[in-house]
Symmetry: C2
Subunit: 229 residues, 2 copies
Amino acid sequence: MPLKLYALCGADRTRPFSPHVWKTMLSLAHKGLAHEVETVGFTQIPKLEEGFSPTVPVLRDGDRLVRDSFDIALYLDDAYPDRPALFSGEGGRAMARFVESWSMTTLHPAVMRIALVDIHDMLGPEDRAYFRQSRERRLGRPLEEVVAARADEVAAFAGKLEPLRAMLKVQPFIGGQGPLFADYIVFGALQWLRVASPAKVLQDDDPVAAWFERCLDLYEGLGRGVRAA
Amino acid sequence: MPLKLYALCGADRTRPFSPHVWKTMLSLAHKGLAHEVETVGFTQIPKLEEGFSPTVPVLRDGDRLVRDSFDIALYLDDAYPDRPALFSGEGGRAMARFVESWSMTTLHPAVMRIALVDIHDMLGPEDRAYFRQSRERRLGRPLEEVVAARADEVAAFAGKLEPLRAMLKVQPFIGGQGPLFADYIVFGALQWLRVASPAKVLQDDDPVAAWFERCLDLYEGLGRGVRAA
């Protein structure tokens, strides 16, 4: 039985946008593991696999269910040690946590402040109501207010990637000469923005843009298979 | 013959302050390698080992000379593979580059804007003249102007550590359950500030402060051996 990944989509089920699901889609391709993808809307997630997880990605591998993109990557390296490594050693497992924390605290809030209304507008009617209510409760204000300073956020976004830009002077991927899960962590954030929003946050000659293009090319253009918003 | 490390000091030769030298001092302790330390002022560096390097740390190991804290760490793991690893695998080597870039682009400029005049004032007379001239040329303005917004920089500093703070919810060190070179990279930046400046940038109950204290405790309190400014 092939593996099965539950992925998040809006009204158009061909356009997965969740940053965390993208991390797992690249992880599965990295390991070369055949899998099917079942796309769901926000409000379907709690019903999946008898309420296994409040969030996606969720991966089913035979009898085993795993949730959370980082835990799925750890699971895949443990369960398929003969396939290409996603972490490449204990140090890589640990330091990928730092990359994840950097992406979550630096990039994700900025993507939200740019693309929150775009994401809302991608959703089907039921999911829109859920999304607006849950996000407005979490953020303490209307979605439209969160994206009010959108132009400033777009202008500031490239600056937040300065650590990656500096690193790219030394090596082409966060994983070194080739990509590792740490690359997919940061790719997920930028792909989320690319699929959800037409905002242009990187100049074409930015080394970070070149790295992102390299990631879009991976695995026969898996990421590029969903066109930009 | 024991290893020999060239370290940077001001007028008081018992107070090494260079962030990069601190990374190497912790690296040598991590590997359990006996070594002597020769302290030098800024203007002595170009004369060391027949002009081997414009910067410290420089490590002599028998006939071998190595410069740059990251390259020294790579050298130590290659030359002493039976000692505790500084990177713990290929993934760790690669991702430590991201931690270095983050520290250099986020923390180092902030430490400069807080402590530049403090650092100047620690130096001997010859080194003061060199330091002022080289830094003012690099920064394009007087040292005193760079630190003019010092209070704002001190207030903003803790926020820059948010990626580390978030990661510390998952594990006690960037290296995972124990420290690796990636921890020493970030430790170096904070130790530089601690030795040079009385500025208090972290609240006592900050998880980052607790991590820094853990790092100060390592190797019989090596970092704590130099008292705070």
